[in-house]
Symmetry: D2
Subunit: 187 residues, 4 copies
């Protein structure tokens, strides 16, 4: 496992996705060593590093060149990356050239979520899994509605985590912001 | 109502107790214009200002002289304070000289919670209410056990609030830390 | 204060709005004894009873006749209701005949939220407050967007409450479902 | 992955530990195919089944014979169990005969938590991990204090999950009760 603080960070790139969320995504993904994974909006590389350890192949995309750079640095820090391809492009564009996806993570989409899901749906293998994370309330509704319109039976889980600081005077709980995880599986 | 940002703050004094928690405390207190209220650990004055507006008399205590000062400033800012007495002392000590309490708020106690509750119990009117807030997990257990041992039927509510930032790109929810509110009423 | 369990309930009517949420709504409403309040979607009467105690006049509306009946029973149980008018109609319709609103609570709207907010906006006094509660994620987005389009500066707070059962073996926390509270004030 | 509803349940046995919590425990455990795992208080077998799939060897203990029976049924349902030993005994007693533990999960302890942790500490391999789940506030404090006194640097994470029901009228979020996860690693 990685600790949140293990990751190299940059002020201009969001992430890494926090530990509990990474754990839940990994679990829901049912990842296996032969899976082809796309991480759309790889940010700091929190999700990319987790799947690099467990999947066959990972393709990580981000519009922000700095995100690609910092994801690359984190992969290197953890001795990972041999099975990872980094693409600095818009997800909706980069996905056009990717086929046979087993697991598609959408951790960032700008205003392209519907487009990205259209292409992901097309490129996803049968039994393939889509996992979308959201920090905006709007994204939750948009993701669920789009997944429904594509014929999926989507699920949504919202997670509120707080972490303790174990002080001399007692245990002080500090909250993380709520994160929603929307998931769907292709028939 | 006050907004959280309405209060003058100081780096060295915790508080103010956040809006939702102030609202719940006010509601649970059933405060009326004849009530005598003690605010033990008044900090920034978040609770003191609320009760100054609604109670007959408020006595606010804090070991930290800066807390007394900043509470005083906030009362002044809101045009309140005529019915408020500020005491710079340990709660366990100051409470010895106070009688006929209708509502006792314990928002800070250091390691004196049991002592403070012993004295509060003695000085509390029949039908009087005790309200304790906790940011430490340990304080929750200590408060409930002490209230039970004093013969109360204590209640505990834990509140996790997140507030939205309404941005152009959507609604981003930001979490406050969890707060527990323990309450009891004298027979 | 009322306990959640104080209210008469019916299987076919949702509510009452839980204690912490009632407390926060009351606080945000800044209700005073001269205020004219509309409770659109009064359900079990949880909100209606609170405002009946504190406002000048309350008009409570529900499309469900059983909600009107049970709200009436709860008002009677608490010795309230002299200043309450109950209307069994769609909110969007009933609101057309109501003027000079100081506080509008929308606790239920079916698919009429935008219509209801259009009329509320028209009938709301200057400095009047709108408070919308939501259990659906979609309602949060719809409410915020509509309030923005009407020229308001809306706020949203999400509240996760858990209540303790104080057992011999310890304190067991039981969660309520998350509730969002959207608010806005007319200039 | 298992869904919560995949597990056979019994009214008299708590569990299964919910999906998000199982995911986080798995992640924090860093389980590998050679690990020896103890699940103290296996209940319905939620945790036992997860580790049976991923660890070398699992020993599951419960004082309640019905928990042992239902854990056995769930293992069978999922085609697992060849590497699992079930013991119907008190954890503090059964652990005395177990050596070389890599991962110790304590999901139930009655009033024996301190005793159980004393023995777990003794039997845990270097680099071994202890994971305790708590539904009682008291257990959080007890676990952290005991782990500290045994020389660990314990961590605590509290998780509040809500799951969506995707309805025609929108997304309704339903809360699970809060769960705390306390972890520590032997040097
Ligand atoms: N349309 C799009 N295509 C590709 N990347 C996008 C995008 N819209 C937003 N993003 C990227 O999505 C990222 C979201 S932050 C992701 C954090 C990441 N999961 C981690 O664990 O580190 C940002 O870096 C942003 O640049
Ligand atoms: N034994 C004690 N007696 C009096 N005050 C105490 C105390 N132990 C801690 N305190 C005070 O308790 C305060 C807790 S912070 C309270 C914040 C306050 N409710 C607000 O809304 O602003 C601190 O200012 C601290 O100095
Ligand atoms: N368009 C509409 N006009 C009026 N009432 C409506 C409505 N759409 C839904 N409702 C009503 O809104 C209610 C929501 S439940 C409200 C619970 C209430 N706040 C309490 O504390 O008891 C339901 O009773 C439903 O019948
Ligand atoms: N001292 C002790 N030794 C062993 N089991 C115990 C115990 N005290 C409590 N338990 C057991 O701990 C269990 C807690 S419920 C555990 C649920 C389980 N993690 C799951 O996923 O299904 C109960 O079945 C209870 O019988």
């Amino acid at each position: 496992m990685f600790k949140d603080t293990d990751f190299i960070k940059s002020c201009d790139v969001p992430g890494p996705t926090k530990e509990a969320i990474r754990a839940i995504i990994l679990y829901k993904s049912d990842v296996s060593p032969t899976d082809k994974v796309v991480d759309c909006g790889c940010g700091t590389g929190g999700i990319t590093c987790e799947f690099a350890k467990r999947a066959g192949e990972v393709i990580s995309i981000d519009t922000n060149p700095e995100a690609i750079e910092i994801t690359s640095k984190n992969l290197e820090k953890f001795g990972l990356g041999d099975n990872v391809k980094l693409i600095n492009d818009d997800g909706a564009n980069a996905l056009k050239d990717i086929d046979g996806i087993d697991i598609a993570i959408v951790g960032g989409s700008g205003r392209q979520l519907e487009n990205i899901l259209d292409i992901v749906h097309e490129k996803l293998n049968s039994k393939g899994r889509i996992i979308i994370t959201a920090i905006l309330v709007d994204t939750k509704v948009e993701a669920i509605n789009k997944l429904k319109s594509l014929g999926y039976n989507p699920q949504i889980m919202e997670v509120n985590v707080s972490n303790g600081r174990v002080l001399d005077r007692g245990i002080l709980m500090i909250s993380e912001n709520p994160i929603a995880i929307m998931t769907a599986q292709k028939r």
